[in-house]
């Protein structure tokens, strides 16, 4: 085998730098328009859409102007479900993609033609996945991770990367807590273990329990 003489090109480039740059531009746009952008992440079936459904309806009732971009591999079921709240909603069908990227957010915002200055909130419902969305900045001001009581207490320690990247955690489906026999204190401790200092809410979108605190947090922003 011959030894090939090579030279080293020293570059220092983040593999996701293109996404990061696009996300930074989106963040500037959101801030300039005074819209609070939130990236909702969780495993599939944690109740992102149900929480959003109730949150959008309550915000509209309170005279706020929310909008939502909803990511799913297929179907526009979630968008149709969320439109009933009276908020602006647009579905992002990712087809084979397991996460949303900043480029998709920019493209869908343009296609939707929303005037950001006329919005107070932009909720981005990511694809249900506890791994892939973690490295992709969407320009959000806050990342919200959901964990339903049916998933067990140790989910956060099994997926520390995503939980660590979040600013807020919401324990959902509180109405099922007793039936699931979940230890809520332990769940909270596990979330705090992988994301020290995080803000935690406990909600039930079905009964409305705990929604006040979450809505108050949103309204205060």
């Amino acid at each position: 085998m011959s030894t090939l003489s090579t030279r080293l090109l020293e570059i220092r480039t983040g593999v996701l730098s293109k996404n990061d740059q696009l996300a930074a531009r989106l963040r500037e746009r959101f801030q300039a328009a005074g819209v609070l952008a939130l990236n909702l992440v969780s495993s599939p079936g944690s109740g992102k859409t149900a929480l959003l459904e109730r949150t959008l309806a309550e915000l509209v009732r309170a005279g706020r102007r929310p909008a939502a971009l909803v990511g799913d591999l297929a179907t526009d079921n979630d968008a149709r479900r969320l439109e009933r709240s009276g908020a602006l909603v647009r579905q992002i069908e990712t087809r084979d993609m397991c996460h949303l990227e900043a480029e998709m957010i920019a493209a869908h915002l343009d296609a939707a033609g929303w005037n950001l200055a006329e919005l107070d909130y932009l909720f981005i419902e990511n694809v249900g996945n506890l791994v892939c969305p973690s490295g992709y900045d969407l320009g959000e001001q806050a990342r919200v991770v959901l964990l339903s009581v049916t998933e067990g207490e140790d989910k956060p320690v099994k997926y520390p990367v995503l939980f660590n990247s979040a600013d807020v955690a919401i324990i959902t489906k509180l109405d099922l807590a007793e039936a699931c026999g979940i230890d809520l204190a332990l769940t909270r401790r596990n979330i705090e273990e992988v994301r020290p200092g995080i803000t935690i809410f406990e909600t039930s979108a079905r009964t409305g329990a705990g929604m006040d605190a979450w809505l108050a947090w949103l309204m205060a922003r």
Partner: protein, 122 residues
């Protein structure tokens, strides 16, 4: 499994660097991969040759340097390496969100063949 998207972005960056340097192909790619990058090393190693197909990067080696998580412990006033999956100082037990390293997912170098003329064959 987002490692294929990651591999495609990686190849795009490397190919651009190689082309800028006038190289015709890439021999090796050096990558720093943080323990908290959310990328599975084995999955990336599997996807890399697929993403490199029909590019200047085809056939290149992928050399990955794993970067452990390091946090700054405020009470101890020093940088420490917590146990896997933990964000606590191994010395005093205080939790910390001051992440010094471990989120890296970056190309640090691209090896290309030397620009010297190849030996003539006889």
């Amino acid at each position: 499994m987002h490692e294929l998207s990651i591999a495609l972005s990686l190849v795009e960056i490397v190919e651009e660097a190689a082309r800028r340097a006038g190289a015709e192909r890439v021999v090796a790619v050096h990558l720093r991969l943080g323990a908290m990058s959310g990328v599975v090393r084995e999955a990336l190693e599997f996807c890399f040759p697929l993403a490199a197909q029909n590019t200047l990067v085809e056939g290149a080696r992928l050399e990955i340097e794993t970067v452990p998580l390091v946090i700054t412990c405020t009470p101890c006033g020093r940088d420490v390496q917590p146990e896997e999956g933990s964000f606590r100082c191994p010395l005093c037990g205080a939790p910390s969100m001051h992440i010094r390293q471990g989120r890296e997912l970056e190309v640090t170098g691209v090896e290309v063949p030397d620009a010297e003329p190849a030996m003539e064959e006889h």
